[in-house]
């Protein structure tokens, strides 16, 4: 009996070893372990075995069964692994084929710069506000200490709608609107379109954007103005940026300054970009003129403040090395898609 079982097992293992595909394993399983299988038939012939030997024979049959089953399983796993490997190999793709991207649009370079500027000032506690583009003469000039007939009015080449209403030449009028609200302290920036009657060329446009800034509080100093704009410049142009304040004149600030930053292309050594000067002018600023405060109902004895104005296009042209301002308003796809 024992020898018979051994033979069955040897046969089974030999056939398992010799098998080359999954189907053969099933056949082997059926022919040995199936209902009519060889091992099953041994069990069936148990009644011929002496009762005292039955447990021992049963044990032997079970052992044989376990051995065959585990060998079958082992072989099956091997086949499965090989099959998977083959499948994966057949699924190899050319990874250098072009990528698939959704067609996503781009913001205008002006907007990109504006968003950066906004982020910097919002982070410093400034509110972003707006004002009208078609504006009263009073807000654009008079309330900014530029009385009627002042040459500064002519200098700005204003578009007039009538004697009293004009297209704003600067965003500075928004300062006045904010101050008139009477809520102090003020920390605001006001971006927006402004208009001057300049013919269109590579560096001029009759319509462009400015960002006005205004801070009014007790004890605001010129040192605060310097610190604020220095921080702004470093955040916008990089931490290495140096800032230079030069005396200048604006009707609505006193003292006034123009601000240069070290050229962010050459770091201040002088290059084609900064015309060899190492510095690039980026904005005008100053302490709010006491006349302006008074006109807007703020007591200059108690409050002081600073204001600044940045040309948005100027920064965009510099930052992205765009050599012709007209490109910003032509809206050519090949241009817009680069930002």
């Amino acid at each position: 009996m024992k020898a018979k079982l051994q033979k069955i097992m040897d046969d089974a293992l030999a056939r398992i070893n010799a098998s080359e595909q999954m189907e053969t394993l099933n056949e082997i399983k059926v022919s040995f372990l199936g209902k009519k299988g060889e091992l099953t038939s041994v069990l069936k012939s148990m009644k011929d075995v002496a009762p005292e030997d039955r447990p021992m024979v049963g044990q032997l049959v079970n052992d044989a069964r376990n051995v065959i089953e585990s060998k079958l399983e082992e072989k099956r796993a091997k086949f499965e692994k090989a099959a998977l490997e083959l499948k994966l190999q057949n699924e190899t793709i050319d990874v250098t084929l072009p990528a698939k991207k959704p067609m996503v649009g781009h913001r205008h370079p002006n907007t990109k710069v504006l968003e950066e500027v906004k982020k910097i000032f919002v982070g410093m506690g400034y509110e972003v506000v707006e004002g009208p583009e078609v504006e009263y003469d009073y807000y654009n000039f008079e309330a900014l200490n530029i009385p009627a007939n002042h040459p500064a009015k002519d200098e700005q080449d204003t578009f007039y709608i009538n004697s009293n209403i004009l297209l704003r030449t600067q965003t500075s009028g928004v300062q006045v609107h904010e101050m008139e609200k009477g809520k102090l302290p003020i920390r605001m920036i006001a971006p927006g379109r402004v208009f001057r009657s300049d013919e269109v060329d590579a560096t001029h446009s009759p319509s462009f954007h400015q960002i006005e800034g205004l801070v009014i509080d007790k004890n605001v100093t010129f040192a605060d103005l310097k610190g604020t704009l220095e921080q702004f410049a470093m955040e916008l142009f990089g931490p290495e940026t140096k800032v230079k304040f030069r005396p200048h004149h604006f009707q609505f600030t006193e003292p006034s300054a123009e601000v240069d930053v070290s050229c962010f292309k050459c770091g201040g050594k002088g290059c084609r970009f900064c015309k060899g000067e190492g510095w690039i002018e980026i904005l005008g600023c100053g302490m709010v003129h006491p006349n302006v405060l008074k006109m807007s109902g703020i007591d200059p004895e108690e409050y002081s403040g600073f204001a600044f104005g940045v040309g948005l296009e100027r920064i965009a042209l510099l930052k992205y090395e765009i050599d012709d301002m007209r490109l910003l308003y032509e809206n050519d796809y090949r241009f817009l898609k680069q930002f």
Binding site: M124, V128, P151, I165, S197, V220, T221, K226, N331, K337
Partner: protein
């Protein structure tokens, strides 16, 4: 303002800084240096040479061979030249071998100059070159005695004794630097060399030594020659006349010619040069009349008459009017005040007696007159800035002093001076604490006062007041004094801090955040942001087929536009959008999608009495891939992102002429039109030269901003499964699916979860003029699983209602 550094140094003799230091120092104290030009920069190894011998060239008729002495010791070089104007014994500029001149053979300036090397001309060695005034980087304008060909130094009285071998650029005054400043409009005093010299002296802390102006004149009195009647004192705050007789016109001395030339002013003759010199030095324009042409020995300053014409000294006839101030004699006008004199009174070489005028005119009036006449003279440019009437007196005395010093004529004593309201100094309280408080500095009082002293501001220690002379009209209050302190203390030395007050919360407006959503959504759908001008041509309305009486034709119009094409403020964003798409189409860009967020300007009433309504428009435009429904998708996505959760409906009767009549719709939210979309009418597309279908959408942002919300409440996730029924319908082609959806919504009631159209078919399988539409409709309840008995009646109601509208269910 262009000024030779040599002239500044004449008044700040101890000034000893490099060009770069000067440039930086002046810029940081407020006189911004724009450019510096070293006149003799490219002149190298050019010496005074003496032509000792001239011989004919053996092989060339047009060349001569010169032996030129180039050192006092007698060293000679041989130079071959084709110049026709050289003679033995002359002194000439000689470029030695290896030297440089400013221009090439064609007289064009070359960056870095042109190197001269020894060589052979037709076989004869030549060791350099003799040069013309042009090759020295200047011109006959500035050296009036220069002739064509070689500049003959020895023909000029000033150079005939020049040392042989010395640097020609030095001899000719070309070792000078011309500094161009950007002077701000408030600093009238710095439009003269003296003002700038004062600034330079203060900046570099060196003594300022201005010329001493002496009052000169004989025993006669000017009032015996002339009387002055200023009738319009509002436009002429001061008028001074002085008289010079026995005039001898001739060239001015070389030093004066050089200063003027290096400042860019052409020397003419002694009389003209003196007026120009004084204008440069003091910033005060003057005018000289031939006294013999002044009838009645009387000057009358009055406004012109309307319709009057006047011929200026450039020979042009000008139409003047009653807004303009004229200088007249008893009978006629002889000059346009502050702008240009008349042909009838101009100085000629025969002049005997000159009337000098130094006046102060109203800057605004001069500016307006110049603009009206289309004139822009140097004098006008100065007067426009509102000069100090006290400078007029200094200027006329300075001119007379120079007349006498240079022997141009005999100055008559005294002056006729009409100066009704005298301008004196101003007094500003000196409050050093407040100055420090404004600047954020800690500068002591004495230091501040030392700055003031350097720029000639006085100080009354008893009253603690700063005394501001009349030529510093810009200084009015503490803040102005603070700027003076800051400039000389150094803006760069002021400390750096941040505002220390009460903290404020940074934020952007709700409107701006909605605009950001619009940008995000547009870009997500492949649209690029564009920017167009706010003004455009009134012709765009015809281009867009807008009705004659449409309200959008009522525009805010610019009085002084750049041209008709930029004359109205847009009331529609479409022209900009279509023009940009057109540009792209012309450039053969494929599949272009653009958006813009910008204002239109809607007048409340015309003519404008109050500001127009500025309405921000979110406009989108595209051609190439995509259609009406692509655009509709963008619109709906945007509204959804803005928290507009109610139903969006579309009215196909949008009434837009510029859109395809069968492919347009108003976008309606909560009963309000918030915008429109559609395919651009083919005629309009053609008007913009776009040979493709164009789809646009315009959303009126104020309507969105007033309805948008970012409040989101969690609605729960369905616990019970939904039941879905499909329905296939047959209807006439004209029926809009929107009508079906309305029925589904109405009849679906509370149980309706969603519906979607999954098929639409027209064609051979169904009757002509009909279409088939299939919907999948889902129902659900929040408290149980729905059964047939719940859903069936609802479906029956839907079908029945549709049948009532002539829409049949396909079985």
């Amino acid at each position: 303002m262009n000024t030779p550094l040599s002239w500044i140094k004449a008044y700040v003799p101890e000034l000893d800084v490099t060009e770069q230091e000067y440039m930086d120092g002046m810029t940081l104290s407020g006189s911004k240096v724009e450019t510096i030009e070293n006149l003799g920069e490219n002149l190298e190894k050019i010496v005074v040479g003496k032509i000792n011998k001239i011989e004919r060239h053996p092989d060339a008729d047009k060349l001569v061979v010169c032996q030129v002495q180039i050192t006092e010791e007698g060293e000679e070089v041989q130079i071959v030249t084709g110049a026709q104007n050289v003679l033995e014994g002359q002194l000439v500029p000689v470029v030695l071998d290896g030297g440089r001149v400013a221009t090439n053979h064609d007289g064009e300036k070359v960056p870095g100059g042109v190197k001269i090397k020894k060589g052979k001309l037709r076989g004869v060695p030549s060791f350099g070159m003799m040069c013309s005034i042009v090759e020295l980087g200047s011109s006959k304008d500035f050296y009036p005695d220069a002739v064509d060909g070689i500049y003959i130094l020895s023909d000029n009285e000033a150079y005939k004794d020049a040392k042989i071998g010395s640097d020609v650029a030095e001899v000719l005054g070309l070792r000078d630097t011309v500094v161009e400043y950007e002077i701000t409009s408030n600093r009238v005093d710095c439009f003269g060399v003296l003002g700038l010299a004062r600034e330079a002296a203060a900046t570099f802390r060196k003594p300022f030594v201005p010329p001493v102006i002496k009052v000169t004149g004989n025993d006669e009195n000017a009032s015996d020659y002339i009387s002055v009647d200023v009738q319009d004192t509002d436009l002429c705050s001061r008028y001074i006349a002085r008289v010079v007789k026995n005039i001898k016109i001739g060239p001015s001395p070389e030093w004066m010619q050089r200063r003027l030339a290096n400042a860019g002013i052409r020397p003419i003759n002694n009389l003209v040069d003196i007026t120009n010199y004084v204008m440069e030095e003091l910033g005060q324009p003057m005018h000289a009349y031939d006294l013999s042409t002044v009838e009645g020995n009387k000057i009358v300053v009055r406004r012109a008459n309307d319709g009057e014409t006047f011929t200026t000294l450039d020979g042009q006839e000008r139409n003047v009017d009653s807004s303009m101030l004229m200088i007249c004699d008893e009978n006629k006008a002889i000059g346009i005040a502050g702008i240009m004199g008349g042909e009838n009174s101009m100085i000629t070489d025969e002049v005997q007696t000159v009337l000098f005028e130094a006046a102060c005119f109203d800057g605004t009036n001069i500016r307006h007159t110049g603009k009206k006449l289309g004139m822009r003279t140097d004098a006008q440019a100065k007067f426009e800035k509102d000069l100090d009437p006290n400078t007029a007196e200094e200027a006329i005395n300075r001119a007379c002093q120079l007349i006498e010093e240079l022997g141009v004529g005999e100055v008559v004593g005294g002056m006729v001076d009409v100066y009704p309201v005298k301008r004196g100094p101003k007094y500003i309280d000196f409050t050093p604490d407040r100055i420090n408080q404004l600047l954020g500095t800690d500068i002591d009082e004495a230091t501040m006062l030392s700055y003031f002293e350097k720029i000639d501001l006085g100080y009354d220690a008893d009253k603690k007041q700063v005394i501001v002379p009349s030529w510093r009209q810009d200084l009015e209050c503490m803040a102005d004094l603070a700027e003076e302190v800051a400039r000389f203390y150094g803006y760069d030395k002021i400390p750096v801090s941040l505002p220390s007050g009460q903290a404020t919360a940074g934020k952007i407006s709700f409107k701006a955040s909605i605009e950001d959503i619009a940008r995000d959504v547009a870009e997500q759908f492949g649209f690029n942001e564009s920017m167009n001008y706010s003004f455009e041509s009134p012709k765009v309305f015809d281009k867009l087929l807008i009705d004659e009486n449409d309200k959008v034709r009522e525009t805010v119009t610019i009085m002084n536009p750049l041209g008709e094409d930029y004359s109205i403020m847009r009331t529609l964003p479409l022209n900009g959008m279509l023009s940009s798409l057109s540009t792209n189409f012309n450039h053969r860009n494929k599949n272009v999608r653009l958006y813009e967020i910008a204002n239109i300007y809607v007048p409340k009433a015309l003519p404008l009495t109050e500001l127009p309504d500025e309405r921000t428009q979110f406009s989108l435009g595209m051609y190439g891939e995509g259609d009406f429904f692509t655009m509709k998708g963008v619109v709906e996505e945007f509204l959804e992102k803005c928290g507009l959760k109610k139903l969006i409906t579309y009215n196909p009767k949008a009434g837009k002429n510029f859109l395809h009549p069968g492919r347009q719709a108003e976008i309606i939210y909560d009963g309000v039109v918030v915008g429109y979309l559609g395919e651009v009418h083919p005629v309009v597309a053609q008007n913009y030269s776009i040979k493709d279908r164009v789809n646009v959408a315009v959303i009126d942002m104020p309507e969105i901003v007033s309805r948008a919300t970012f409040d989101v409440k969690y609605q729960g996730v369905a616990k019970f499964p939904s039941v879905t029924r499909d329905i296939s319908l047959m209807m006439k082609k004209e029926v809009m699916v929107g009508e079906i959806e309305e029925v589904i919504r109405k009849c679906g009631g509370k149980l309706l979860e969603s519906y979607h159209l999954f098929d639409i078919y027209e064609g051979s399988q169904i009757a002509e003029g009909y279409k088939s539409v299939a919907y999948s409709i889902s129902f659900k309840a929040s408290d149980r699983t729905l059964e047939d008995k719940d859903v069936t009646p609802v479906m029956e109601k839907i079908v029945k209602t549709l049948e009532g509208m002539g829409i049949e269910q396909r079985k």
